[in-house]
Symmetry: C2
Subunit: 155 residues, 2 copies
DNA sequence: CTAAACTCTCACGTGAACGGCAATGTTGAG
DNA sequence: CTCAACATTGCCGTTCACGTGAGAGTTTAG
């Protein structure tokens, strides 16, 4: 039992099946997302196997979230990931310099990127909330009619 | 100028193009939704033209909202409309009886239906909100790193 | 070293949600 | 009544987001 339970937290690289299963996708979908330019595996094995690391998994979870929860198309997700990519490039650039001014600029860009992402999601939430409010108003009107029936008992 | 500006509020019936344009859909989509069982036009002309009334338009707007804003599939929308249909049947049944107990039962069912719909939408909002919270947390961490750079000026 | 299990890259197939065209019929203004 | 404008059904085409092999190569336990 000296074998590792799983390719857990550390800097382990996983192949496509394990990676896909981990985030709840199929290998085919993961390859398709790559084809669409949504991600590239951290590395390739000698035999050209795709190898994913933890940041890849986070990215895949992010994609899945946008697809399932928000109903974004892959094209829209690509837009959001453009920002994400810029942040990662910024991360490298951040560690490549020691100039405080430069570091500050990189971090500021990241913050702005996060804010754009939040706004995109928030707009969707707002529209959904409007639908909820609308339905709620109709519910309230119906409850009012219920009171009109004379019987004021709950359902 | 005695002609009506548009087939405005009243009990006017509109043909498919006007109806579709009014809610921002194409005639083709409207026919497809009918084919999928999402709605049936209020009436047909003598020559079998589809004729839509105001409640049809509301229904179409509801469908469009679920599709565009919530990203629901037509199958999921069909589920939600099952409830909507039940409400409309309830509306007829409501006016068909004068029994207060029966009327109360119908209204209670409508309220429950609205509440189910709200919950479905709310679950989606919650998941989106979780993504926003996540992104917000990352933003905050980045802002903290910004403070660490020594310069405490805003961006 | 072998064999099973996994992976690679094409490449074609599929279901959802329409777009678009054809052949035909209906409406309504003039 | 006529004729342009709109409608009908039917059917094939398309895009998106994958599913599903085929055929060949790679990894790794034993």
């Amino acid at each position: 039992m000296t074998e590792m339970k799983e390719a857990a937290a550390a800097g382990r690289l996983m192949r496509i099946q394990e990676a896909a299963a981990d985030v709840g996708l199929t290998p085919r979908s993961v390859r398709y997302y790559e084809e669409m330019g949504l991600l590239r595996p951290a590395a390739r094995s000698e035999g050209d196997y795709r190898l994913y690391d933890e940041t890849d998994l986070e990215r895949l979870r992010f994609i899945k979230g946008l697809r399932d929860d928000a109903g974004f198309s892959l094209a829209e997700i690509a837009q959001l990931l453009e920002d994400e990519a810029a942040r990662e490039r910024g991360h490298a650039a951040f560690h490549a310099t020691t100039d405080p001014a430069e570091r500050r600029r990189i971090l500021c860009e990241r913050v702005a990127s996060f804010e754009r992402q939040i706004q995109t999601l928030q707009r969707k939430i707002d529209r959904l909330q409007a639908m909820v409010d609308d339905t709620e108003a109709r519910r309230v009107r119906t409850v009012a009619k219920l009171a009109d029936t004379g019987i004021s008992e709950p359902c």
